[in-house]
Each structure stands twice: as C-alpha cells, then as structure tokens.
Amino acid sequence: MFKIMAKTTLGSVLVLSLLLSACSKNNNGAPAASGSQATSSESQPAASESASASSPAIDPLGKYDPPIEITTFRSTNETLEANLPAGETLDKNRWLDAFEQDLGIKVKYDWVAKAGDQYDQKINLSLSSGALPDIIPVNVNQLKQLAESDQIEDLTAAFEQYASPLTKELLMQEGDRPFNAAKFNGKLMGIPSIASSRETQNFVWIREDWLKNLGLTPPKTMQDLLKIAEAFTKNDPDQNGKNDTQGLALIKDLTNVGYAVLEGFFNGYHAYPGIFVKDANGKLVYGSTQKEMIAPLTQLHQMYVDGIIDKEFITKDAGKVGEDTVAGKNGMFFGAHWNFAWPIQLVHDANVKADYQAYPIVSIDDKMAMTEVNLATNTYYAVKKGSKNPEAIVKLINMFLEKNYGATNDFNKYYRDTEGHELWSLSPFSALPPNKNIENNIAILDAIKNNDNSKLNPESMSVWDNVMKYKNDKDEANHGWFKAFSENGVGDLMVQYANDNRHIFNEFYGAPGDNMKKYSATLLKFEKEMITKFIVGKEPLSNFDKYVADYNKLGGEAIEKEVNEWSQSLQK
C-alpha cells in the first residue's frame, strides 16, 4: 500500500515537474516570440522607410542586399536532362546565376525528382512530414490544405505591390480564373504558374487520303461527319478489298485524355460532359447529367451497333487504340492539337500515304459548336509561413517573364537558344503566357506564307526549321509539322478557334470542396460506367432520367450545391 502511494506521489511529482518545465518553456518562448515581433516591427518601418525613400516605392526587380537564400523543390525529366547546355546543371545554370546576380536570391533545392507519380509522392511526404521549403510548388488541392492548416503566407499584398505591370498583364491573359482558384477567404495564397487553358480544346482528325479514295468532302456539319464515319466503315476506304476498318476511334476512358475521346462529339450536340456550365438561370450545372446528352448518346449507340465504333473499345486504352490508328484500322478521331506529333507522325512513319488532317468540330444544327476547355494552370507557388521575404517569389516570376517576354528580353539566352535547348525550363519557377502559342502560330503561318523567317523568335524558328525540313528535303519525319502549319492545318485552326472564341470554359475551377472530395471518385466511376453502358446498349437511353436521379442521389446534388456556393463566393 505504502509502495503504491510512493509510486503515485512520485508519479505526480514527475508530472508536475514536467508541467512546470513546460510552463517555463512557454515563458521562455513568449519573450522570444515578442522579440521576433519586435524585430519584425523594427524591420517593417525599415521596409516602409526604404519604400518611401525610393519613393516610386517597390522595385519589382529590386536586388536583395545582402543576398537571401530560399529553398524549394523541383521536378525534372529526361528531355530536360538530355538537353542541358554544356557546363550547366540543374543546380548551377544561367537562370540561377541571374536570380543570384540580379535579384540577390540564391535558390537551393531541398530535393529534385523526376516529374510524375514519384514527384507527387515526394511532395506529399514533404507536406505531411512538415518539411516545407520556403517556396512550395503545389497543386490546387495541396494549396488548399496548406492554406487551411495555416502553414503558408498570404500573398495578396506581396503580389499587389511587387508584381511588375508585365507580370500582371501576362498572368491575366486568361482572365482572373487562375487567381480565383488560388484565393481562399479572399486571400491569394499562391502565385499561379500559368498555362494555356484553350489548348485543351478538341478538333476532329480525319484521314484525308481516305476521304479522297471515297470521293468525299470534309465535314461541314455533324450529319456530314456521321456519313463519313459510316463510309469509312463500310466502303473500304483503304481499298484493300477487306472489310477491316472502323469509322470512329474511341478509347475506354471516353474523355479527358486528348486522343480518341468524345468531348468534341458531344460538343457538336451542345452537350458538355465533365464540366460545369451555366444554365438558363445562371446556375452552374454539371454537363454530363443534362438532357443534351441524350441525342449524342443515342447516336453513339447506333454507331456502336453498326460497327462504326470498335466493338472492343471498352478494353482499349490510348496506347492500344493508338496501335490501331497507326495500323490504319480507323480513320477518324476527336483529339487535341498535339495529336499531330502522336500518334499521327507514327501513322505517317508506318505508311507514307496516310495523311491526317484536323478540322474544326462540327455542329448538329445551325448553332456553332463550341469546344469545352478546362483550367490548365495546375501549379501554384506558395510561401511557407514565417518566411522573411514572401515577396521573393513574385520577384522571381517578374524576372522570369521579363527575361523572356519583357522589353529587355534576352530570349536566346533565357528561353531557347538556336541549338534548341529549352533554357526556360532550367528555372524552377515559370509561367507560360496563355497566348504565347497562338501568337507564335500567327507569326509562323505568316512567315511561311511570305517565305520570310526574319521576324520569328527562336521557339517559332525551330518549328519553321521542322516545316522546312519536310518542304525542302522531303524529310518524312517532319511531315506532321508540315501539315500542322500549312493552310487550315491544326496550327491555323488554333488561331481560328481563338479568333472565333469557340471555347466554353469549365465554370468550376477552384480547389475541390468537402463534398466533391467525398463523392467525386465514386461519381466519376459511376458516370463513366453509365455512359459506357448507354453506348454499348447495356442500358437503354430511356433510363437516362434514372441515371441522373441516381447520380444526384449519390452526391451529385451536394456537389452542385457546393459548386454554386463557391461560384457565388467569387462574385462577392
């Protein structure tokens, strides 16, 4: 008994002493904290002094003296590593030198990983083990987590004050969507590493040599397109005497991949699967569950029954369908502009006569078909809470844009040199102006028309070289480039789409909310399963209403509500 007493008293003494030491630690901590506050409040007047001293205030490209050091992560890839200019590495190169010399910012990497799954995994490990660098490149989901757990700085003021006019202009080329996505409670928590959303647009790619073989003309309407697809299936377009072709290539993913998908087809019926669009009342609704889907689905089912779509498409991914396309088993697909490099160049490699051409997507009625696009910006630069210089990232982006696109640009030194090194990617911080490729395309098309390449920047120059290699030397490996930049080639169509403003944006582009996180995995699976069933006829289209009801019950309604709340919060 006495023993137990002794033990408990001993225990309580121990606990007490622990508590005391904890208290004393707290006590020690408090002055330290106030000390740092004091220093920061000291430094603040200093900052505002320096700001008021050099009254045009803040210099977006001002140099830190003494230099500061910031840490970050970066990704790399094989092309980048295979193309390093002589004597330069990821740790030591012209961009990092420029940042150090002109801005007084030394950039150090906590780690470097190959882009892809392992990069995401390492980021998640770093985030969850609390090993944050000063500047954290994250996706919108991770940005939200960091913002909610209060681990990162509010960059609203830093961006307002330090972003150069050029930065503001280029980052806003696509409107304020990328910024809205990075705003939480009205505060900007990350600087978007912007990319072109419009380039997720779709075209329809058709074997032109097959059209000629059958005496058909390019499609002007969806009805034309359907006729072509049927003829490609039934009229032996490759003239080999065998019934071995299909009209429309399709992969089991149905959407999103950018090759042999269906967005372009649905868009022709003014249905917009996978994205949120405004309905007549201005409310955001989910495209995949709208009644506009019924007509194209009915048509697709018919095409499946008629063998125009591969009966085995549900087992084939992009790689597999790509093999069929290369082997000349199908002659038409909906896809992105980059399809001319893959798989079309391979089609041409395998059969020199094979000749794909891109066309704008077509409409079922007299209303123009609009192509649906998603926000392409998927990286945001966040700054660790307590960083001394949260504005450093803004200055770095200022510098990146200035050296590439500003009045004092040195494109050959910093973006791309004449040997084709992609120098811009040596910088761990980047932003690619969304209109860049359109502007380049216009310049290239112009240059080819007038046979004058004097006005091209080095990036466009490399395209010009590729085109000329085919035009002058008949180098078949560059046939794709030649086609893309001939009249009405896909490079031209990109410009036409932009001029006609043929884009419908996904109206939801923020970080996924709680409901979306909870339900979307299940719902996406359910949706894909149902659409596939409608196409192959396992589910009659009379059940479409039931599908919509089920979808809403499984969480679709909750997500829609959440998305609309989000949208209203933007308008405030």
């Binding site: 790399t76 892809g116 490990l125 950018g258």
Partner: protein, 296 residues
C-alpha cells in the same frame, strides 16, 4: 485393375504436367514479349505487330540504352548498395542468429529476444514516420538510407537460426571443451558448416537490394543518386499522354513516346544480372531453405 490404375495415374500425370507447363509458359511469356519488343523496330512495335518474335530485328535500342550515362550511374549505385548492404546484413544476421539458436538454459532470455525481433515484422510505423526517422538521422540522400533500414532481415535470421539449431551439438560442445570461445565457435565452426544456408541468404539479400525501387525514389533527393530499379521505374512508367503539352519540346518528346523498344531493352538489361546469378546459387537454394526449416 492394375492397368486401370496405371492409366488413371497417367492421366493424372498428364493433367499435372499440362497445368505446370501452361503456368510456366504464362510466367515466361511477358519476358519473351519484352525481349522481342526490345529487338524490334519502333514502328513495328507502335503498330502492335510484335508478340513473341522480333519484327525487323535491330540492336539500336540496346546501343542507345548502353550509351546512357544514367543507366551506368544508377548501376553503380545499385552495386554499391548491394556491396555494403550484403556485408552489413550478413554480419548482423550471423551475429544475431547465433545466440538465438542456443537453448533457453544456455541463454536465459532467448525467447524474449526472439519475440522482440519477430515483433518488428508484424508492425511498421508507416511511410511518413519512416521518412521522418531517416530525415532526422540525416541519412536522406545517402547510401545508408538504402542500406541501414534493411540491415536486420528478420526472416533471414529465423532461417539461419533454425539452420544453426540443427547442426550437431557435439561439434560445438567439443570445441568448447577445447577452450574455444563463442566467437571462435561461431566463425570457425558454425559459419563454415552453414555455407548452404548462407548462400541462400545471400541470394535473398541480393534480390531484395537489386529489386527495391521505392525507397530509392522517396529517400534520394536527386535522380543522380537513384539505384538502377528506381531509375528504370522513372523510365518505364508509361507517360501520361493527357499531360498538357505546353511547348514544342514536349511535342518532340511525344513523337518519341513509342519508345517501348528502348524501355524494353532497359527492363531486360535490368533483369539480366539476377537471371545470371540465380543458376549458380540455385544448387544451394533448395538445400538451404529445406534444411533450415527442419527443427531439431
């Protein structure tokens, strides 16, 4: 009657053989396919013409693979890891297995220690705590991060422990009477008598270190420090073609996406050393495992 039984046995044997042959063919086929792809031309592969035999035979993929600095650099890392890892874990295994192979009356807390070791195989802290431990020990980005976490392979210890136990006691007792210490008995008597088991364990350690890729990916901070399998993983993993194409360089990259021949050649090269080592160690393999499992 007898004839019937023989007949029955024969059908049974044929059925068994059929099943075994089919299973082994099924296991073999992917490797044969990879080999065929690696020797075929890129366009034949892109068109899906290659199954089990090369189409348009070419060695370009191998030439290209062997010319890559990254391939050799990561091979060196793997060899280094195997060298150190093998040494460390064999010494640990032998030193731990010996005392644990003694009876409880010779080594009082034997059971307790066995349980402690066994316990560690049942639970693990999970990825993030593991990562944090390595980070706080400042082992990130060093070869030790790949070697030390695998330094004490408990399964191997159990095998060796049981192997030691079935060695005749008389041998160690007579050595003891001649005045040999435990260390002498272990290194001069037990180890020379256990070559079969040690060869098996060597193979286990080799294969584990050769095949591990995940630890390299998460614990190394630079691709230059990846071991071979981590490097191969980054090469082989199918690129996501939905990846947004932002630049002309990406487009050039895309045109190369059918580089399945190159990937295949590297997979094959990566598997080759183990395939070569295996037959040499195999004669010990069965013996080592079976003997270790007999308890005496």
């Amino acid at each position: 009657m007898k004839a019937n039984r023989i007949k029955e046995n024969r059908t049974f044997a044929i059925a068994i053989h059929l099943i075994l042959v089919t299973t082994s063919l099924l296991c073999l086929f992917p490797l044969v396919h990879v080999l065929a792809v690696s020797f075929s031309s890129g366009s034949a592969v892109a068109a899906g013409k290659v199954t089990a035999w090369p189409v348009d035979f070419t060695l370009t993929a191998y030439r290209y693979a062997l010319e890559r600095v990254e391939f050799w650099r990561s091979l060196v890392v793997t060899l280094e890891r195997i060298g150190i890892g093998w040494g460390v874990s064999m010494v640990m295994t032998i030193l731990i297995a010996y005392p644990l192979s003694k009876d409880s009356n010779e080594f009082r807390y034997r059971t307790f220690y066995v349980w402690i070791f066994f316990f560690t195989t049942l639970f693990s802290g999970g990825l993030i705590p593991f990562y944090m431990v390595i980070r706080n020990l400042h082992m990130l980005d060093t070869i030790w991060a790949l070697v030390l976490p695998a330094a004490v392979p408990v399964f191997n210890i159990l095998i060796l422990l049981n192997f030691f136990r079935q060695l005749p006691r008389e041998v160690s007792e007579s050595a003891q009477m001649d005045g040999a210490s435990h260390m002498t008995i272990l290194w001069k008597v037990y180890v020379p008598m256990s070559t079969a088991a040690l060869a098996t364990l060597t193979l286990f350690v080799l294969v584990t270190h050769w095949n591990s890729w995940f630890d390299g990916l998460i614990l190394m901070n630079k691709p230059e420090h990846y071991p071979l399998q981590s490097y191969l993983q980054t090469v082989v993993l199918q690129k996501d073609i939905s990846l947004l194409v932002k630049n002309t360089s990406d487009l050039n990259e895309l045109a190369k996406m059918s580089d399945r021949t190159l990937k295949s050649s590297q997979i094959f090269l990566g598997a080759l050393p183990i395939m070569i080592t295996y037959p040499f160690l195999q004669k010990y393999f069965v013996k080592g495992i079976v003997l270790g499992s007999v308890k005496g």
